[in-house]
Point group: C2
Chain length 242, copies 2
């Protein structure tokens, strides 16, 4: 049984404003919830239509609900057995070492989710997001990461001061950059990926110390650009294959 | 002015059944429509709220409409000045040479659109789609390709007979494949990419002659898999960088 107030609270968490106010977010599907539990995220409550689905969890944290109730709180088109509310973790400051990906105003939740999966795959532990980047606790991002968000530290920061001060080389992709295939890429670096429509912003561009490019092989000039998630895929693959 | 029958026809083209019946599809936004015009797709009619937007087109093919009318025929959340109806081209049989991408039941329109952009970027001229792959003339695919679909030949075929008969090596990505970074990849090959949820189907797997893998660098076993579009990005990049 879920109360009116709980329904109101959970549906409000679809909005960034209320996630920030309550410092809570929610995740759906057994698979994704399990990933957060395994990663020691602090659970507030699980709502589920299936008894015994989370036997490892303290039963006081589990609330049995009906399909109709699940529909009321879910953000999915097809709600799937369970929804869990977690506290947003407080990340201590991060260490500027290893390979760091920095996102300059990524707006699409699907792109952010895909990039988090890529960071997880390629062992990138820190993902820096500009303050205008879509919120990582947006339900669409949470679901599209398939749980890998529980293993990548996502930090919202003003990019400019960090990029200006860091001792790491700062890589950015530009049409006129040096081909990424010929570069000797270091293990420790920051890789900046730009906004879907506008690319890397002029202020951030000034902080880039290494301009690289993914060569195009199509036979005409028309090919616009790569989607930011596929460009991130190729770039991270190049950094790791070295 | 757009007639009731035209509205009915155009909105019906959001469904594959009616696209096949009429052998028509539609595209939206000036940018995307221009790409199809440049690529010599056969135009049936342009509907636009802006006079003079397509001065290169025979004016008998242009129909001036109101914003309200555009909303009625558009598949976009925010309709944008114009919509054009084109004939679906009839592709003659294709030549099995060069680098060919074959999709084994890709279901998500966004993934197909992204893969078409990748083919365009990496100079892949032929994209083979299994018959269960999402329809390329689906409005969501058309819009997400940003026009690059006009430069990639997309052919729906039974994959199995083609893969069994082709003399080209057939590459497929599998967890237990040889690392793609160490392979000498040929210029002429077929690269099979599998379904989002189930990967490459068992029947198609039997036709794969080269099992490859994109290595993972994350420190734990949990990382599921790469999204099919990002896996395609990395694979095509490896084939071309050689």
């Amino acid at each position: 049984m879920v109360s009116k107030n709980q329904i109101k609270l959970i549906t409000s968490l679809q909005q960034k404003k209320y996630r920030n106010q309550h410092q809570l977010f929610f995740a759906e599907t057994k698979k994704v919830i399990d990933e957060f539990l395994d990663a020691q995220f602090e659970l507030v409550q699980i709502y589920t239509t299936q008894e015994g689905l989370f036997s490892q969890v303290n039963q006081s944290k589990i609330c049995a609900i009906s399909e109709t109730e699940l529909k009321k709180i879910s953000a999915l088109v097809t709600p799937n057995e369970c929804l869990a509310v977690f506290k947003i973790p407080v990340h201590a400051s991060f260490e500027a070492k290893g390979l760091i990906v920095a996102l300059d105003d990524i707006r699409d939740p699907g792109n952010l989710g895909t990039i988090i999966r890529l960071c997880d795959w390629f062992g990138v532990e820190t993902l820096l997001c500009s303050k205008e980047t879509v919120d990582v606790y947006n339900p669409k991002v949470i679901q599209s990461t398939m749980g890998s968000i529980s293993r990548v530290k996502v930090i919202y920061e003003d990019l400019i001061p960090f990029l200006k001060e860091t001792k790491l080389p700062v890589y950015g992709t530009f049409m006129d950059g040096a081909t990424i295939y010929a570069e000797k890429l270091p293990e420790d670096a920051v890789v900046v990926m730009g906004n879907e429509a506008n690319g890397i912003s002029p202020e951030v561009e000034l902080a880039v110390t290494k301009r690289i490019a993914i060569p195009r092989f199509g036979n005409i000039q028309k090919t616009e650009s790569l989607n930011v998630a596929t460009a991130t895929a190729i770039t991270l693959s190049e950094f790791r294959r070295n």
